[in-house]
């Protein structure tokens, strides 16, 4: 969680210093969800999918912080070779199936990974394959059609797919109740977790500022999925301390709301818990914070010193099989032309 917070705060600094560009969406405040679900409950071979607010999901899943920072700087040592950016972090080795810019479009992707696991068990005979896929998205996403299409298919095919809604109450400038109708006839609240049972899966609500509570709820959902009992919908009540993105003036959220959630900051909350329960001392925590600061500084140095992408990258990864660029007038496949590796070949 500390790494997540330090990393995100560093991103803000780097952005305002002109090292990072475009749309950057920071996760500060929501760390308990990422740590509670991913770090605490998932294995390296499990899958996660996210949205554009994906930096800390990547870190929790074990993706190298150096490679994430390099990606944000647009360098070729980045996770996506500088081709994805903040909103499109991918890491095959750690099962990060993507950050996605269009909210909702990552959910069927995670579902597809879960389908692949079910296929592995039921068709290919790997009965002990108990990997799971977890989809992360926000309150705004819960009105996108793909969300509902995926909930239905997850239950229908009994897939090991877990849906985690990080309800931070705001979709850019849309306060959740302004975008979402109440979830029941006698209800005045737009609860998201209540939509789970409507699609045949358990719906659970949890305090997303408390990492231990998130972990408890996530553990149960993950174990359920591993046993082959199907999907779960988890709604985590959380808050982002910064605006929607670094370009958001954040004028609509009231001071009282921000102060309320600042008081529930997951990091000092958990630090208190650890000290109170003898799991760590104050000086342990100080040492941890110092170490994290070193790690993040190292990431920035790594990213700064990394080279920019080569021009060859312009054409290289468009197709897995570069035959897709076709055959030129000379009868050769276009990728066979020398200009291809310099990014200067005629390909259309």
């Amino acid at each position: 969680m500390v790494l997540g917070r330090e990393f995100e705060e560093m991103c803000a600094q780097m952005y305002y210093r002109g090292k990072m560009f475009g749309f950057v969406h920071l996760y500060s405040g929501q760390e308990a969800v990422s740590t509670g679900v991913i770090k605490a409950c998932l294995r390296k071979d499990d899958f996660i999918s996210s949205t554009y607010r994906d930096h800390v999901h990547a870190l929790s899943k074990g993706v190298s912080a150096r490679k994430v920072m390099a990606e944000l700087f647009g360098k070729k040592t980045g996770v996506s070779r500088g081709q994805g950016g903040s909103m499109h972090l991918f890491d095959r080795e750690h099962g990060l199936l993507g950050g996605y810019a269009f909210i909702g479009e990552g959910i069927p992707i995670g579902l597809g990974a879960a389908y692949q696991v079910a296929y592995s068990r039921r068709v290919l005979g790997n009965e002990s394959d108990d990997r799971v896929a977890v989809n992360f998205f926000g309150d705004g996403t819960c009105n996108v059609g793909q969300f509902y299409e995926s909930l239905n298919m997850a239950t229908l095919y009994k897939l090991p797919c877990i849906f985690v809604v990080e309800n931070n109450k705001w979709a850019i400038g849309m306060n959740h109740p302004r975008a979402t109708a109440p979830s029941g006839i006698a209800d005045n609240e737009p609860w998201i977790y209540k939509k789970g049972p409507a699609f045949g899966m358990p719906g659970v609500h949890v305090d997303g500022m408390d990492v231990m509570k998130v972990r408890e709820v996530a553990m149960e959902a993950v174990e359920r999925a591993r046993r082959g009992e199907g999907p779960t919908l988890i709604e985590a009540e959380t808050y982002r301390y910064r605006g929607h993105s670094l370009a958001d003036p954040d004028e609509l959220r009231r001071k009282e709301e921000k102060e309320h959630y600042a008081a529930r900051d997951p990091i000092p909350q958990f630090a208190k818990y650890m000290v109170a329960n003898g799991l760590a001392t104050e000086s342990d925590i100080k040492a941890l914070e110092a170490k994290v600061k070193e790690v993040v500084d190292d990431c920035v140095e790594y990213a700064e010193n990394s080279p920019k992408p080569d021009m060859s990258q312009l054409l290289e990864n468009v197709f897995a099989d570069p035959k897709g660029f076709g055959i030129g007038p000379d009868g050769r496949y276009r990728y066979e032309n020398p200009g291809f590796t310099a990014g200067t070949a005629e390909v259309s």
Binding site: F47, S49, G78, V79, S80, R81, G82, Q83, G84, F90, D91, R92, L97, G98, Y100, A101, F102, E105, I107, P108, I109, G110, L111, G112, A113, A114, Y115, Q116, V117, A118, Y119, S120, R122, V123, L124, A133, G145, Q146, E149, S150, N152, M153, Y157, N317, V318, F319, A320, D321, K323, G324, F325, G326, I327, G328, P329, D330, G331, Y333, V347, S348
Partner: protein
């Protein structure tokens, strides 16, 4: 055999060979596919490999992408190609672009296939030609089959390809009869097919328009013309070797397509020909495309919307001049 049987045979062979190949779509399992392409296969391979999906194109297209990224080779069927408009988000953003955006980490070895084209009075929404809409999506290949032989051979290649392939079948061609290639024959996805060698004019076509052109050719032969007919097969990328060789020989080109004129496959091909073969041309490239109108239900209006053989004959007269039969 008929084209639907050839496609079915290709599908069956590839599914038997590779256990990661699976088909997902509406009514592909128990119903056997709206045009029988997967008829009875669920009995052999089971419900997971012939997955009957609910009606949620964008959702199941994305599910296919996720499955492809994590090791399967799914074929996603649009019951009618037109329905895939609902899956445009997943096809464009994830299918097409994901290999690049992930820095080459994830490949998407998918085939997206289904019946498209103008049928018999099916109305505007069931008569769409999506090849022009999907054209600009980077990272996908567009292939259109047209004969019994090439349909099976191309489908096998498409399934084996590591790239996402959008595979266009035509509603009116499923019952066309012909022979398949023997054995495990796979046809190259990037090459055009020479249908008829000639000297007077190069006629480029694809899918059902191949038959419309050949009908016109029967008439043109009687009139003493000798057209060269090339079936593009690969709508993206274009096989520039076959195309440029032909134009250098005949010096005249006509494109006959079923998609609409605006932004069609012909629009791209015409531009490329003019740009790269300008001095090889004696006449500007003629494009015969469908009218830029929704397809009517009424028979005569529908017929007037698409290219008919007479129009092809007229176009050849225009570029070649009138001829006296030998």
């Amino acid at each position: 055999m008929m084209m639907w049987e050839a496609l079915r045979e290709g599908l069956d062979e590839e599914m038997e060979k590779d256990p990661t190949v699976c088909l997902m779509g509406e009514d592909v399992g128990h119903y056997g596919g709206s045009y029988k392409v997967s008829y009875g296969l669920y009995k052999k391979y089971g419900d997971m490999r012939l997955l009957d999906t609910p009606i949620c194109e964008n959702g199941f297209m994305g599910m296919g992408v996720g499955a492809a990224m994590t090791g399967l080779r799914p074929i996603v069927e649009g019951m009618n190609m037109g329905f895939l408009l609902l899956a445009f988000n997943q096809i464009s953003n994830n299918c097409g672009m994901l290999h690049y955006t992930s820095g080459g980490q994830f490949k998407v070895p998918m085939v997206i296939r289904g019946p498209g084209g103008v049928g018999r009075q099916l109305g505007a929404e069931h008569s769409q030609r999506l090849e022009s809409y999907f054209q600009s999506i980077p990272g996908v290949q567009l292939v259109a089959c047209s004969t019994v032989a090439n349909s099976k051979a191309l489908l096998k290649s498409a399934i084996r390809s590591d790239n996402p392939i959008i595979f266009f079948e035509h509603v009116l061609l499923y019952n066309v009869k012909g022979e398949v290639h023997p054995g495990d024959y796979c046809q190259c996805l990037e090459r055009a097919e020479m249908v008829r060698e000639g000297t007077d004019v190069s006629i480029f076509c694809y899918s059902r328009m191949r038959y419309v052109v050949m009908q016109a050719v029967a008439e043109l032969e009687k009139q003493g013309y000798n057209p060269e007919v090339i079936d593009l097969i690969s709508l993206k990328p274009f096989d520039m070797e076959t195309i440029s060789k032909s134009i250098k020989k005949t010096r005249k080109a006509i494109i006959v397509e079923e998609c609409m004129k605006t932004g069609g496959i012909g629009a791209s091909l015409s531009a490329v020909i003019h740009e790269s073969l300008f001095n090889e041309l004696d006449h500007e490239v003629l494009r015969l495309s469908s009218q830029d109108v929704p397809t009517s239900y009424a028979y005569e209006l529908e017929a007037a919307t698409i290219v008919q053989p007479e129009k092809v004959v007229e176009a050849v007269h225009k570029v070649c001049g009138t001829r006296v039969a030998a």
